[in-house]
Every structure is written in structure tokens, then in C-alpha cells.
Symmetry: none
Subunit: 128 residues, 4 copies
DNA sequence: GTGGTCTAGACCACC
DNA sequence: GTGGTCTAGACCACG
């Protein structure tokens, strides 16, 4: 699991952490039943306030991605992977919708927009 | 010129105002040299505080979209329209890039992604 | 007498007018005793509000550059030209002082500053 | 870091604050990565409204001199120092140009002008 | 009438 | 604790 936090990019840190956990689940880096790093460990690893990590984990529990194992820590739920799918599809859907709206408001034609999307899809590399 | 403000959609009000002015420039609803509504007038029209409108206009001046005509008001600059193009292409580019990254991280295939984009492009209506 | 007004450069219009009258006196384009254009005429010529021209002329009277000739208009005073000298030397003095302060605060060395001044003096053309 | 605010010298307070931060960067009193005083602290120290300080800091962010560290405060960016150079050289350039124009319009000879500059450079003391 | 600045004070999210 | 947004209202210079 690979975490990269940027404290000055506008996105809340706890949100960045939560997203990255979800990504890790979505692409198999984290499997169901696996334990995530403890709050304290992750906090020191990322050089971030423990409250912030706790907040991310709390949200992930509320979303059903993590569950508390008393005395052991937090582990990835069985449903996490499927949720990961639905959840993120919904989010993606909304994100794309917004981008489409912006593109249309900017006066882009369908062709121009598709060219842009195409170019970026081909260029973008994903590190996991 | 058509302004629609949603005071609780996460985007700051001044930001919504600034964007809509930029859109209006981008699609020709506002032309170079034209005066924008006065701070006070727009404030009462949108039922927001004049300072909020002023903040939006100030940002637009900083971005080179508006310029102050002493005692007359604020008008759209000559460069506004070209800036509008460059500026927004850059923003859109970044937005699309982010969406592409998300899609890839979620494990979507190229076909799935394109299908989603296609569907949303066809559905989305723009009011100007 | 040649007037060029820029309503969106930060300097008050009445101030621009007043300065240009002073320049005209300083370089002989306007001589002592000569009448300046009437408020109305100048206002229409410059496409500005008559109040603005009136304000400029008012300040020029307060500074002793113009005097009212009842029924005739405003004419350049005898003292205008010498005042022009003193007055502007004082202003220039202050302006230069500010620039020097800025330069020092920016960490420029004496040589760098002089080089800059030299370059600009040689380059700058004056149209009267 | 030394702040001196003059609430009635024509320059807006937020502008004075912003300039002094830039100066502090330019002459090394503030280094890249360092946190600036918090909005509230500086506001009480200078006896001005927090909004005024916030305005200055906001402008500095827009200019790329500061960046927000979520929950921590605002710190000087890496690019601040180089920007400081370019930025201020450009401003100074323009200021000097204006002064040169004024001097020429006032009929000063090169020698007179240089004498004035020289005298003021030698006299002016800078406190950092 | 126009915009610009400043103050005062409230509320919010985040760390 | 941090900054960010918004409101309300005052005062100013300018046209």
C-alpha cells in the first residue's frame, strides 16, 4: 500500500487518506480481511496528526469499507470490494457529469471534448 | 446574462459568480467592453452581500477578465475572451485528467469509461 | 496641448488632467497668460464628465497654476512656470526617494540600480 | 520579521502587509517553508482586523508567495524567492520608468536627474 | 451613482 | 488551534 499525502492541494488530508484506501481496495492491493496500518503507525508514516488518520478510518467504517476487530485493529470488510465498485462508479458518474457540463459551458464541441479525453486517457499512467 | 446561485452546494458563492461571468464571456453572452452589473445591483438581484459580489469581481480583475472604469463600473477586457479560452482549457484539461486517473484507479476499462462519458455527454443539457 | 486620458489605469482622471496641464506649462506648450480650454470643451474633447475637468481646474487654481478671468475663463498664472519647477522638483524628489527605498528593500545593489536607471533613461522617449 | 503599519499613508493596510512579507522574503528574513504568523496573531499584533490580514495573505497566495498547510497555517513557497526577484524587478522597472518620464517631462537634464538619484541613494537608510 | 477598504462578528471545516 | 466564507454596515474617493 502506497500513500502520498499533499497537505497543500486543497483536498482535505483525511479525504486523501480515505480515497487511497479505497483505491487500494479497488485494485486489489488491499484484500478483504486484511488489517490496515494502525492509526498511530500510519500517522507517523505520513507525518500527519493521528486525529486525521482516525477521521479517515472513521469515515471508512461508516462507508462499510473497514470494520473494527477489537484488540486487533481495523480490517477490510468482505463487502468492501463490491462497495468499492458501486460507490466509485457513482462518484465517477457525478464527476464526469460535472466535467461534461463544464466542457459544454465552455463552448467545446463534442469532437474537441472527445479528443481531449482520448489524449489524456492515453497519456495518463497510474501508479498503485 | 443569467445568474443562478446555489448557496449550499459546496462551491463558494463568490466562486459561482466568478465562474458564471467567465462562462458568459466564453459563450458570447458578455462581450468585450461591456459593463457587468454593478456590485450593488447584482448583490440585490442575487440576494447576497455586496462584499461577496465585490470579491468575485475582484478576482475577475486579478485574472484580467474585468477592468475598472473609474466611476462607471467594471467592464469586460479585450483579453477576456482569449483568456477565457486558454484559462478554461487548462482547467478542463486538469479536471479531465483527474477523472481519467480516478477511472483508471477504479479499474475501469477504456470501453467502460468511454461509454460513461458518451452517455453523459448526450444526456446533459446546458442552459446559458 | 495634447491630452491622453486612460480611465482604467488606477490614476484618477482629474489627476491625469491636472498633471498634463502642469507638464504643458513646464515644457512651454502653455505660456503664462494663455487661456486653457473651457471646462465644457475639454470635457467633450476627452469624453469625460465635466465635473472631472472642473475638479482638475479647481486643484490647479489651488496650486496657483491657473487663475479665473471672470467672463473669459481660466488662464495660466505668471507664477505657474516657476511653481512648476519647484513643485515638480519636490514631487520628483519624493518619488525618487520611494523608488530608492523599494530598490534597497528588494536587495538591489547600487550598481544594479544605477544600471536600471541608466538603461531606462536612455530608452525612454518623451512626447509632448 | 518586522512589521510597521501606517494606517493613513495612502497605501491600503492589506497592501502594506503584503509588501512587507514580500520584502521579508526578498531579503531573507523569511525563508522558503517557514510559516508566517497566523492571521489572528498578526491581526492583534498590528491592531487591525483579522480580515485585513487575511486579505493580504490571500493575495500572497494568489501571487504564489504563500501556500496553505491545512490546519497548520500558511508557509512561504519554494518559488517565493525567485518570484520575489522577478516580480519586484518588474515592478521596480515600471516605477523607475515612470519616474524617468516625469523627470524628462519636467525638463530635468540627465546630470540633474542623476545627481538627485545619487543624493537620495546615499541618504536613504533601510531598516529590515 | 460607481468601486475600494476596513471593521466587527458569526459560522464552518480541518488538524 | 488554523484558514475560509459570508454578512452587515461604515467610510472614502471618484465621476
Amino acid at each position: 500500500m502506497f500513500f502520498e499525502i499533499n497537505p497543500s492541494n486543497g483536498v482535505a488530508i483525511f479525504e486523501q487518506i480515505a480515497r487511497q484506501v479505497k483505491y487500494a481496495v479497488a485494485n486489489g492491493a488491499l484484500r478483504a480481511g486484511e488489517l490496515v496500518p494502525s492509526v498511530r503507525e500510519l500517522a507517523t508514516r505520513l507525518a500527519v496528526n493521528p486525529n486525521t488518520v482516525a477521521r479517515a478510518y472513521r469515515d471508512l467504517q461508516a462507508d462499510g469499507f473497514l470494520e473494527a476487530m477489537r484488540g486487533e485493529g481495523l480490517r477490510v470488510t468482505k463487502q468492501a470490494i463490491e462497495r468499492s465498485g458501486k460507490h466509485r462508479t457513482k462518484l465517477l458518474h457525478e464527476r464526469i457529469r460535472q466535467v461534461v457540463v463544464e466542457a459544454k459551458q465552455s463552448g467545446l464541441t463534442e469532437d474537441e471534448f472527445y479528443a481531449l479525453v482520448d489524449q489524456l486517457w492515453k497519456k495518463e499512467q497510474i501508479e498503485v
